[in-house]
């Protein structure tokens, strides 16, 4: 996600940098127009996600809704209302938090599984590597979305959908976080594995081994720091994918009406028949948010890619 805006090299006053020293990755990314644009959009949405109540008041429910039903935008309701009379502005801003937090948690789960399996696979090699990569390939080929639908339905029926909350997110939506993690770790694992394979052959790993370091120590202290850049760059793309997957899962009816995400709003709009009724205000705001956030992550990912792979930069 958004890295802390603290320059890694020398604080705000360090203008006169010693010659030959490269600025931090974050600075290089923000120096590019696409990186800057993506960053700014994400900061705006992060603010919306952090303090929705401060901006538009508490989340309106069927009980607290006061507006007219399915009314077009007016002064009192800048983005119109839904079929229950709730303000779409209120719903969409609150959904920002749900969508972003689910996306964030799913990214952490995905990247964690992918990075651990990728590093171990590349470093340990042998049978462990063969089996892990077979499974990874399996997940890359099959239509994971259908698997995600079935898994979500089954886990929810088994675990139930109580009102337990984790990090302010209801259990039913935590299911989605876990399912996204299970179904999308494989490309991360593949990328990290191939980087680990090349790191393994470097001299510093041999040196560590010669002085008696164990496998676990080398993976943690020597391999991990060297794949961190790659993990961050990958996480940016995973985040965009996670938001899209959550949106799609919610759209096919796996969202939680008590805690609407953008996808849940779109599903509600479809069920009411908003497109056929001409009620554009119902789904356009949530749709624009999704496209903007995914677009921002794509821009940021592009910028990171260009900064981390100078070869690519020269070609473009």
């Amino acid at each position: 996600m958004t890295a802390p805006a603290v320059p890694a090299d020398g604080g705000p006053g360090a203008v006169a940098r010693p010659a030959g020293r490269k600025p931090s990755v974050l600075r290089q990314v923000l120096a590019r127009p696409d990186g800057m644009a993506g960053f700014v959009i994400l900061v705006v949405f992060t603010v919306l996600a952090l303090v929705p109540t401060l901006l538009v008041g508490p989340l309106q429910t069927a009980v607290t809704a006061t507006g007219p039903r399915l009314a077009p935008p007016s002064i009192g309701y800048p983005l119109g209302t839904d079929e229950l009379g709730r303000s779409i502005l209120n719903l969409t801003v609150h959904a920002t938090r749900v969508s972003m937090v689910i996306g964030f948690l799913a990214t952490i789960v995905t990247v964690l599984i992918g990075a651990v399996l990728g590093i171990m696979s590349g470093f340990v090699g042998g049978r462990f590597d063969a089996v892990t990569m077979r499974i990874a390939d399996f997940f890359l080929v099959i239509p994971t979305f259908v698997l995600a639908i079935i898994l979500t339905a089954i886990i929810r029926d088994v675990v139930g959908t109580g009102s337990t909350e984790i990090l302010g997110i209801r259990l039913s939506l935590i299911t989605i976080v876990i399912v996204i993690g299970i179904t999308s770790w494989s490309s991360t694992a593949r990328i990290i594995r191939s980087q680990t394979l090349s790191l393994k052959e470097r001299a510093f790993v041999d040196r560590a081994r010669v002085i008696g370091a164990g496998g676990g120590h080398i993976m943690r202290r020597h391999v991990l720091p060297n794949v961190t850049n790659l993990i961050v760059a990958n996480a940016v793309l995973v985040f965009a994918g996670a938001i899209l997957t959550e949106t799609t899962l919610a759209f096919v009816g796996l969202g939680d009406p008590f805690q609407p995400s953008w996808g849940q709003i779109l599903d509600a709009a479809r069920q009411v028949g908003a497109p056929s009724l001409g009620a554009w205000w119902y789904f356009v705001p949530a749709g624009v948010c999704i496209v903007l956030v995914v677009f921002a992550f794509t821009l940021l990912g592009n910028a990171l890619d260009a900064v981390l792979n100078p070869k690519l930069q020269a070609r473009r």
């Binding site: 099959i142 994971t144 979305f145 698997l147 089954i154 009816g253």
Partner: protein, 325 residues
Amino acid sequence: MGSRYLLRRVATACFTIVMIVVLNFVLFRAMPGSPERILLGRMPGVTAEVLAQTRARWGLDKPLFPDQFVAYLNSTAQGDLGFSYAARGRPVTEVLAQHLGPTLLLFGLGEILAIVLGLTLGSYSGWKRGSPVDYVGNAISLILYSMPYFLLGMALLLIFSTGAGWFPTFGMLTAGATYDNPLDVALDLGGHLALPLATVALGLIGQYAILMRSSVVETLSEDYVTTARAMGFRDDRVLRRHALPNAMLPTVTLVAINLGYVVAGAITVEVVFNWPGLGTLTVDALASRDYPVLQGVFLLLSVAVVFANLGADLLYGVLDPRVRT
């Protein structure tokens, strides 16, 4: 083509299909409630005797492995996928077959359109890198790429169906309509098909164009393209005869790999337009927790994607001699 390459690809595909079948079994067993409960429904007052009878009748008293597993493999191999709960006990295979046609029509045509238009747009932007067409094309591709298919579908529905009134809003044929001749059927079908087809094609064009563009850009920096230029060939000949054939190679694999993701889009687009295909079936089955149908859809779509990938691998082997080892 080298037989080892062929053999390895086929073996991988078979292995994947076996894993899919096993996963399907495991998922089915992990289902909430015991299977006999679902078979008996929510009938009150089921005696232990009836329960035991049902278990024996469906082979649930035998151990999960190997007995139940072997029985499952047997019936799956014979094309018996069980019975739908929601469709009043109709065989799952029958339900799937009924919904397969509309999906094939919509996505077959959509893929073809997207491949032709996406590759054309991509190769043109890659060739004219930095031109206005490249900038506009790239921006549009990126926005389409960031947009979930169903959102695009809802927007098109709003603009062209509700707003302009050019197309019907849902279904595959007008309900209750009678036709005088086949042409009327085709016209009605075409009207219903237009918007979902446009959604599918537009959703895919973005991905294919981005892919083709980067592939063309990469190919243009190759030595043989420089050589062709140095030999004095005209620009369009260099592009058509030297750069494009090589630039198209990676797209073969990526189009196949993308199929797995396209399935997700397929499901949602059909839902938006009430298109009576596998996607609508999936969402209906999900709403009524019709697990046998969900499992059937998963099996059918996964196996289809695996075969498409195998086909792409073999095609790649024919097109590019370097991989035949």
